[in-house]
Point group: C2
C-alpha cells in the first residue's frame, strides 16, 4: 500500500528557504508570484493490506521521525 506524506512548516514559522526561492523567482522576472513555501515530500510503500492499520503505521513514522511536530504540519494521502 502506497502513501504520500507532505510536510510543511506551520503558518507562523519563518521559511528562509522558501524566501530565497521567492526572491530568486522575482529576480527571474516572475512578478505575479505572491508567496512560495517549501516543504518535504515522502512516498512511502508499506507491507500492510488493511488500510486503517497502514495509515496508523505511516502516522507513527511521521510522529517518530519524519515530522518535527513543534514547527511542522503534515498530511497523509493514499496513492
Amino acid at each position: 500500500m502506497k502513501f504520500s506524506v507532505t510536510v510543511v512548516l506551520k503558518k507562523d514559522v519563518l521559511d528562509p528557504q522558501g524566501k530565497v526561492v521567492q526572491n530568486t523567482l522575482n529576480n527571474l522576472g516572475m512578478n505575479d508570484l505572491k508567496s512560495i513555501r517549501q516543504g518535504k515530500f515522502f512516498e512511502i510503500e508499506i507491507d500492510e493490506k488493511d488500510q486503517k492499520k497502514a495509515e496508523i503505521k505511516v502516522d507513527d513514522m511521521c510522529k517518530k521521525l519524519l515530522v518535527n511536530l513543534i514547527i511542522e504540519d503534515y498530511k497523509i494521502n493514499k496513492l
Copy 2:
C-alpha cells in the same frame, strides 16, 4: 490562485536521503516498510485569475528553478 508542486527523483535515480530514512525507520522497529523516497514540496500562491495562464506560469517556475529535469519529475496540482 494556489498550487502545490511535488518534486521527486526519477525512478532509476538513487535516493541516498530516502535510504537513510528507510534504515532509520527499520532500526526503530518498523519492518513493514517496503520503500520510502524523499522529495520536495512547494506551495505556490500566484497573482493570476486565469487558471490556464497561472498553470503555465507555475510550470515555467518549475522548469527555470525548482526542478532539475535531468534527474527529477514534478507534478502540479491546484489547491
